[in-house]
Symmetry: C2
Subunit: 245 residues, 2 copies
DNA sequence: CGCTTCCTTGAGTGACATCAAGCGTGGTGG
DNA sequence: CCACCACGCTTGATGTCACTCAAGGAAGCG
């Protein structure tokens, strides 16, 4: 799955095979500016469960997700939690131009980030409008997704919510493999759930028990197969879509 | 409440007292570019209930909300509806850089828009990065609000949802009067609900009946007074906030 | 082997939906 | 002017879906 450029001798080594450069914000930069950028960036690995951003903390850096899944969530004072977004590679992480974080970010799976100090990125953004444009496009996509999810949260039944979640993961977890599969007309799919039942419940505005029951129901109805707690097979994506309401 | 500039002889007449120029996207433009912009813009009035944007329609123009409240909503095939956002002056209306609309926009109250053709604005955005920056700031604010609302939809009870909605309206309907009131230490507020019970229900993911019952409950508990179906008084915003969960 | 963590399953409850009147206001026409 | 209806809202009775509480199974780990 590595992508090779013919002329990339001046591209920083780390950037050469990076998805962010091909689909994410770094695609706005040429070799010269990539080099400039790479003087400030730092790639960091986190294990699943690690806190990447603490709620109410001061924003000191931004990041690009290079690998893994990041869970964004908000909490009410009494502990009720709502997952408000999932970030996949090559998504951008952080509230651009903000001072304080208004949500918590946690590694849902093992994660690799390409971090950059707040001030460095903001200077770069000022200097390269094309970079801000890329980030704008991503922000707009996130807004679209958030609104789509509001429909799921507000108006769908528990069973539709779970089906919608599975479809979301199926279509986001591995975009490349996914496209290839569609080209070949394959409708079957197998994937790892990046979230625990508790996280799924917090994403869907349900309880663990309800999520579990609905998954069992989908299994009994032959819509999915549950290999183990984290692995799911969908024999026919079409049959899953029908269940999304 | 009119704001006067000392030197605005070259500012297009329509722009002179416009909130958009002071707080919204047009603040990014100087007199010269405002003049350029105003060659393409057109202000249009709509009455409450008018459809401003149809779902799945092609995007041909953008707009700024100059007066009134706009309701953004999405529908499932079977007719279930979810309101996914409310736009107040001087908000921007339209999915920048999109081709198709993915939601419906309706005038919740009498509305005045300042419309501009899609291509004209996009050219202007390309030429003036500062304009895109303003729109970026607004998009990020909308994303923050959408995520805040996801918590309400997913994790709050019916009564907390209604209280949260009232607080949202109280703090957005008339920002200027609102600030003045806070300065004076007044905690009481009276305002018009821009939405019908049905719209409120669609915003909160509830039914009309539940919204009505919760409003009655807030009234009986002395948190609000219901002047008539559309007018509400909140004697103490603090007491309302406590109810938001 | 026992412990912990995560998940499933069951029984009972409760919050909100549904179904069904009834009320108030504003508009229309006789 | 009032009868009539339409519309939006409220209120009550009943139903149901998802939550709560409780127990037990499966997998990972010391």
């Amino acid at each position: 799955m590595s992508r090779n450029d013919i002329h990339n001798s001046d591209v920083p080594i780390l950037c050469r095979s990076c998805e962010v450069r091909h689909q994410g914000m770094c695609g706005a930069l040429d070799q010269h500016h990539l080099l400039e950028l790479s003087r400030y960036t730092q790639t960091v690995r986190y294990e699943a469960g690690a806190e990447l951003i603490a709620d109410d903390s001061e924003i000191t850096s931004y990041a690009n997700v290079m690998r893994g899944v990041v869970k964004l969530s908000k909490m009410l004072e009494d502990g009720r939690q709502q997952v408000v977004g999932l970030q996949f590679a090559p998504d951008f992480l952080g509230r651009l131009f903000g001072r304080q974080n208004t949500l918590e970010a946690e590694a849902a799976s093992p994660v690799e980030l390409c971090k950059i100090p707040k001030s460095a990125l903001e200077k770069l953004v000022k200097a390269h409008p094309e970079l801000e444009h890329r980030l704008m496009e991503q922000t707009l996509r996130e807004l679209d997704e958030a609104r789509e999810w509001m429909v799921t949260l507000g108006r769908k039944t528990a069973s539709e919510k779970v089906a919608t979640f599975l479809l979301l993961i199926a279509t986001h977890i591995d975009p490349v493999a996914n496209e290839r599969q569609e080209e070949r007309g394959e409708r079957s799919m197998k994937f790892d759930l990046p979230l625990s039942r508790a996280d799924i419940a917090d994403f869907l505005g349900l309880t663990i028990e309800t999520v579990s029951r609905q998954l069992t129901k989908l299994r009994k109805d032959g819509v999915i197969e549950i290999v183990n707690n984290r692995q799911v097979t969908v024999p026919d994506l079409g049959r899953l879509k029908v269940r999304c309401g």
